[in-house]
């Protein structure tokens, strides 16, 4: 039972906790669409400090339009950026 489905609109949390994080700053607070579910993986934010990384986290690929990321983006409106986000950084938006 996965938390998000392909096509779900999601927001990447706008959060700035200290420590080792795998969510790059440039996507925090941005919205996109779930492109695929990649599987469950040990949480690298825990592994980084010598913990065992459990419980595992669901990893998703999120597709974000470049114009959402960079308001003055100069390429095509259809250009996208896809990246991997763990479930605890995602919130579903819309219905």
């Amino acid at each position: 039972m996965v938390m998000f489905n392909v096509g779900d609109r999601v927001r990447i949390k706008e959060s700035h906790p200290p420590g080792h994080r795998r969510t790059p700053y440039y996507v925090r607070g941005k919205t996109g669409v779930v492109e695929r579910y990649c599987g469950d993986f040990k949480n690298p934010e825990e592994l980084a400090y010598g913990f065992d990384g459990t419980p595992k986290r669901e990893l998703y690929r999120v597709r974000i339009t470049q114009t959402e990321l960079w308001p003055d983006y100069e390429g095509s409106d259809s250009d996208t950026l896809d990246l991997e986000i763990y479930d605890h950084w995602l919130e579903k938006i819309g219905g």
Binding site: R22, T23, C38, G39, L59, R61, T80, D82, E84
Partner: protein
């Protein structure tokens, strides 16, 4: 030339090709070395394991990736498996992905894909070998996600405005390989011939293969 000799060899011209890329006495280099020695001393890993892993990584090169792409161009069933589950499909050809998983992204008439790792330098090393210096540079890592079309142009790749440029940030557990479009003029070529036109940079998505 050893580090000691360099210290006493004090003049202001460069010696091209002799400057080491890594400062062996730098803070992180010394820490890595100390960590390796400790792990060996405490029996966590054996020196032979470290050596064997280095030997394996050094033995990988983009030719391995080229054979994968050439097979996808000549074998539709394999191509379907490669796009469906990259990890399994390359393992079937004898290429292990190790701890990571592989996602293969296909260039089409409508989409051009390029790969970057903004957080470090994640790269499908077991099938392409070690990443090139530019891939690890802060400049590429920062600019590929902000102005991919300008970066592509600097690599000599002009992607038309009606095509979608899709950048993949390899920021977690997946590794990426671009499946380029087979270049015109190579119809009917054997997989061996095709492998010869597939370059590392085309599989990272910054160039297009040329016949």
């Amino acid at each position: 030339m050893t580090t000691d000799e360099r210290g006493t060899h004090d003049h202001d011209h460069d010696h091209p090709g002799t400057t080491p890329d890594v400062n062996e006495t730098g803070y992180y280099e010394l820490m890595a070395e100390a960590m390796k020695e400790l792990l060996i001393e405490k029996g966590v890993v054996k020196a032979e394991d470290v050596r064997r892993n280095l030997e394996f990584l050094d033995s990988r090169d983009p030719a391995e990736g080229g054979t994968i792409i050439a097979r996808a161009w000549t074998d539709d069933a394999f191509k379907a498996r490669l796009l469906e589950d990259g990890t399994k499909a390359v393992e079937e050809m004898g290429f292990p992905m190790g701890d990571a998983e592989l996602i293969v992204v296909e260039n089409t008439d409508d989409v051009h894909n390029m790969i970057v790792c903004t957080l470090c330098s994640c790269y499908p090393r077991t099938i392409l070998g070690l990443p090139p210096d530019w891939y690890k540079s802060k400049s590429y890592r920062a600019r590929a996600v902000v102005e991919p079309r300008s970066v592509l142009k600097e690599f000599g790749t002009d992607v038309s405005a009606d095509k979608t440029v899709r950048v993949h940030d390899s920021n977690a557990d997946m590794r990426y390989l671009v499946l380029p479009q087979q270049p015109a003029g190579t119809e009917g070529w054997s997989a061996e011939q095709l492998a010869g036109v597939i370059t590392r940079d085309a599989m990272v998505g910054v160039t297009l293969p040329q016949a």
